[in-house]
Structure formats: structure tokens, C-alpha cells
Symmetry: C2
Subunit: 231 residues, 2 copies
């Protein structure tokens, strides 16, 4: 679905950002990726071609907490034009500062949320909107393409962060099977009968699953696995 011409495979996310900016003929493209956990809002993974001065100013001032684009992205499903932003005072100041640092007047963003709640916001920024006064007509026609693009760059960023895999513990099929039955209230002896294994084997699988999930109890392992969508 995404433009193959971009050939995003086998390149870094930073490189992808540059190619996307060139392909869509905008000045700046930015990816924010918020991983789950306590640092969800604190330390997003960011790739952008904004001027260095703006990037460092943004990071040093913890603007990720202020940025109205990111705030709005939490509320809107699908691509949206920045004209939809209704800034508070604090955010108005942020936007003025941004302009001073070379950020352009118009933009749009598209958000992607994966199955375990990790969020990407891919933002496009340019001097003038392609599509009239706002980007809306433009992004309406490109809607599916943009959604697909956001999805792909999300996966690319995850692969980069987690060194090729998706950052989830790699449970073996048997481990998953045993965990599912455990979540269903079955004891290892029952699971052994269900799966036709020795109960020692089942306990072994559950132990390995527990260790992979960095858990001290089956209850915690089940909780983690289900919140990670593994079972």
C-alpha cells in the first residue's frame, strides 16, 4: 500500500524520514514513537529532519509534554490537519517558538497504535498546504496510503529499537499454549493431560515462559503475556 518507490526496507528510520519528506514534497517529517511502560511520555523515540537547533531545544525543554500535535494525535483516529489544533496559551508559545526555529506554518500528522498500545505519530510539515487552505483534501485522498505508511515506519522503528525483533518476549508455541491454559485456570497436571505431555514437561514450559516474561509468579506471567497480546 505504501509507495514502493520509497523502498523503505533495509534503510534506517532516519533515512526513511528523509525519503518520506522528499517523496511527499514537504520540508520536514518527524516520527515520534511512544513505547509503553513508565517512560511512555518521557522518552519517546524520535527521528526527524527538523533543524538541530529546534530538535535540541524541543528535547531540552521537554516539549513532548506540550506539543499540541502529539496531544491531538491522542484524540484523532486517522490522519489529521494541524488546523484542527486548538492550542492553550502554553501551546501557543510553543508554536511561536517553533516558527522562530524554522518550523513551517502548516502540517498534518497520522498516528498508529499497535496491539499493545505503543504509539507512533508521523508528522509532515511544510510552508503551504497541498490541497488548498488546509491539508485536509490532500490527506483525504491519501488516507489509506498514510495510514499504511505510519504502520510501516512504526514497525521499522520498533525493529531498530529492539534489534530486529518486535521487542516482545519470544515465547515458543508450547509455552504460549501452556500459558493460555493456565490463564484459563488449568493446573499443570490438567494441562499435561490436555496436551498429552508429562506434567514435568508442562512445568518446564511454564517455568521458561515465566523466566522469559521476567515474572516471579504464574499470575504475573499471565498478566504480562495478556497485556502484551501474547496469549
Amino acid at each position: 500500500m505504501e509507495p514502493d518507490i520509497l523502498n523503505l526496507d533495509s534503510c534506517t528510520v532516519q533515512e526513511a524520514v528523509l525519503r518520506i519528506a522528499r517523496f511527499y514534497e514537504v520540508d520536514f517529517v518527524t516520527l515520534h514513537l511512544f513505547r509503553g511502560g513508565e517512560d511512555a511520555q518521557n522518552k519517546p523515540y524520535v527521528r526527524t529532519n527538523y533543524p538541530d537547533a529546534w530538535v535540541s531545544h524541543y528535547l531540552l525543554n521537554d516539549y513532548v509534554r506540550v506539543d499540541p500535535v502529539l496531544e491531538l494525535a491522542e484524540q484523532i483516529a486517522g490522519p489529521f490537519c494541524w488546523t484542527k489544533i486548538n492550542p492553550r496559551q502554553e501551546q501557543r508559545e510553543f508554536m511561536e517558538t517553533a516558527i522562530k526555529h524554522g518550523v513551517r506554518q502548516t502540517g498534518f500528522s497520522v498516528r498508529h497504535v499497535d496491539s499493545i498500545g505503543r504509539r507512533s505519530v508521523l508528522s509532515f510539515n511544510a510552508q503551504t498546504a497541498k490541497g488548498g487552505d488546509t491539508w485536509q483534501p490532500y490527506i483525504d485522498t491519501k488516507r489509506k496510503e498514510l495510514i499504511s505508511l505510519a504502520y510501516h515506519i512504526h514497525l521499522m522503528a520498533l525493529a531498530e529499537i529492539y534489534d530486529g525483533n518486535d521487542g516482545l518476549p519470544q515465547l515458543s508455541p508450547r509455552e504460549i499454549e501452556c500459558l493460555k491454559w493456565t490463564a484459563d485456570g488449568k493446573a499443570h497436571t490438567e494441562i499435561a493431560i490436555i496436551l498429552g505431555l508429562s506434567d514435568h514437561t508442562v512445568r518446564g514450559y511454564l517455568k521458561d515462559a515465566r523466566l522469559k516474561l521476567d515474572s516471579v509468579s504464574l499470575a504475573q506471567a499471565v498478566s504480562k503475556a495478556s497485556s502484551l497480546g501474547l496469549i
Copy 2:
């Protein structure tokens, strides 16, 4: 948010359906509520003022699996006009049959999904669209009202189904607290320290929570509670 004039409190869902139809000046109003679990698609809770013949025909032929309105409602967030339907052959036949049974030409629906995935679809059906060729302009102006209405009737239907409460096991605050810590890998002795209770007490709470959740193990209880959104 919803029109207070409807005074939907303290009336049955069936009565609410009639009042809604009168208030919005449409011929027919239908509520489909899909509860979770294995019978999610099989046996929805339905309240409608469609003619009896159509209702029985619909139910007997298991049309809930065919109905293009319900299918589309899975894909669209917010109210949508039935003109957005792009029927397959099977669905075209369904729609012809519907018309023969007195179903009108135009309509719109709004879906609500609650925190544990139970879905309501509230559908409006009339001879002609209020708002021009389609309902779209009309439902755009009524958007928030319709979303709120869908939410309220969803709760009403749940209350009717589950006899006043929302169908979720009623865990006490302490039970929830203990379950959360358990999901976090804490043993009852640790939880007792954290909460400043006797470990006997904590075990008592966890036992009660387990029983309320109809579970045989803490792992199962945690799994259920988290899938029900209770922790």
C-alpha cells in the same frame, strides 16, 4: 448530552426505542447489543420497532451474520449513513427482502464499544433522509448527541440484561488492590506489607476475588480481571 426530553431513565429499552423513533422522527429504531464471549455474534440482544414479521424473519434466518449495517458498524467509528454500505450479493438480497418487509429506504447507525469490547449498534430507518440525499449532513450536526445516545442506551441495555448492574463481578476496592499487586508479581506476604495488613487478610481478599471471578487460581483470576478491565 442526550435530549433530556426523552427521559430515558426508568423505562425499558424497548420503550426507549419507541421514544427515540418518535423524537428523531424516523420510522424504525433498532438496538443490537453484542456481548462478549462465544455467543458474541450468535445471539445479540435486540430491541426494535420493526414489524414483527421482519424481526422474526431476520432472527430465523440468522441475518445478524449478513446484515451489512452491522458489518459496516465494525469498521466505522461514529455515526454513519447507510449509503456508505457497499453490499455483497448476499447482502443485496438481504436488503431487497428487508424492503419487502417494510424496512425503509434510508438509514444511519451509530456504534458504541465499551471498555470490555461489548458493542451496541443503534440504527435509524426512515423513508427519506433528513439532510438531503443522505443523512450525512444531519448526523454531522447531531454527531455528539448520537454518540451520547448510543452510550446511554448501551448502558440501559446492559442494566436490563444484568438486572441493574453492569454485568461485571463487583470486586471491592481492597480486592482489586490485592489483585493488582498479584498481577504485578507480589506474593500475599509482600502485599500485606505494602498495604499494611495481615497476610491472612490479604489471602482473604484474594480468595474472595477469586471466588467472585469464578476462578480456580490466582492466575485465572488475574487473567479474567484484566480482560474485564477490572484491574
